[in-house]
Amino acid sequence: MSEPIVKFQDVHKSFGDIKVLKGINLDIKPAEKVAVIGPSGSGKTTIIRMLMTLEEPTSGDIIVDSTNLWKMEKKGKMVKANEKHLRQVRGDIGMVFQHFNLFPHMTILENCMTAPIHVKKENKEEVRERAIQMLDRVGLGDKLNNYPSQLSGGQKQRVAMARALVMRPKIMLFDEVTSALDPELVGEVLEVIRDIAKHDDMAMVLVTHEMDFALDIADKVLFLDEGVIAEQGTASQVIEHSTNERLQGFLHRFRR
């Protein structure tokens, strides 16, 4: 059994008086594909946003590759992590957003090249080659010099995936990546994720409403409900054998 690459230990998160997460414990192994499902407002997105350092946990520990993400040691005491520490740990993590968040002032090739060149200080020619390869892989090799505003939602989301992949993360986070798309564009994006899940050996965490898809590719499914992990296991365990009534109700709404 390999050591988990991500560990959540009793993680709580409140926004003001509202408790969103109430004690999350979670292990993610390297290369494991985890799907997070649950009703909206259950805190699914907050879990990966904390992992991406976009939200700070109220309490608890998140361990990434044996390093505490939000805390660091200073003079023998654990203190709040500074930006330098966060940058170090964050380098292993990539994220794809619901609203793509491509850089509108750059071509799609530049979108994919800017971070490896400026953040990782990689060789420009190598990065260009890799970025073109990656854009080819997501089916956009013929649009390298287009701007994001010239693409459809599905195409934008595929660029966003290429942009994250070029950074070679060990952990990839997908935050409801098909929710902002027209229904006919969802398929092409899911195809790309399926391809990544099959061929790349990084860990993946998908927050999604695409139930069938999630169950299909996930090694582990988490059902999040009212701020806790109400159920977890393999897809078949969670879907077919769970006795959790709220999960049954939730699934029922998706699989009429």
Partner: protein, 239 residues
Amino acid sequence: MNFTYWSWDTFFDALPFVLQGLGITVGLTITCYLFALTFGFVWTFLRRVPNKAFNWIVTWTMEFIRSTPPLVQLFFIYYAWPMIPGVGFALNPFASAVLGLGIHFSTYVGEIYRSGIESVDKGQWEASRALNFTTLDKWKKIILPQAIPPTIPMLGNYFIIMFKEVPLASTIGVAGIMLMANTYGAQNWAYLEPLTIVGIIFLVLSYPSAVLIKKLEVKMNTRFDKNAAVKSDQKGAVM
């Protein structure tokens, strides 16, 4: 009736004299503007320091500078500042004008920058973070290239507004066209022609600038509309 107040002889006599100040006027305008553009960033970033008390001080300092007439500020820098023991030192008229008008307009420019930065979508900050940009690169590569272009027409307007305030510098002895016209008037007891020349020069220089800025504005607006259309598309898809 014979129009005896106006003399073309005087006009053409005054013209080269007044024009001697043109270089200074234009030079001062450009220097002040560059100063304001640069110093505007200082205000913008000072206001972003996450400390309430500090923020309050910065906000009110800006408010104070904006609510005080630039003429008073010029006089203060030129006449009063050197008299303050310890910190004060004398500046020549040109430098005083650059500092006075530059700081005054930098507070407006700072506000424009702020509006530009606030118009950048939250997702852009998050994507920069997710891709692990340093704070400096995030500003340089992602935020400012999106924040500044839409503000260019507004910044252009302030260029013209500032250009029209530059004659104030004549009051502390900057020898631009205004001071030259005044001097000519005093020497020859003829103010009508030289001051008319000053008016014409300002018109000739401001009008093309205004037209240019208008064009820029239209260009930026169409660009902005395109983005807006894309954004509403996304919203439609969410619903």
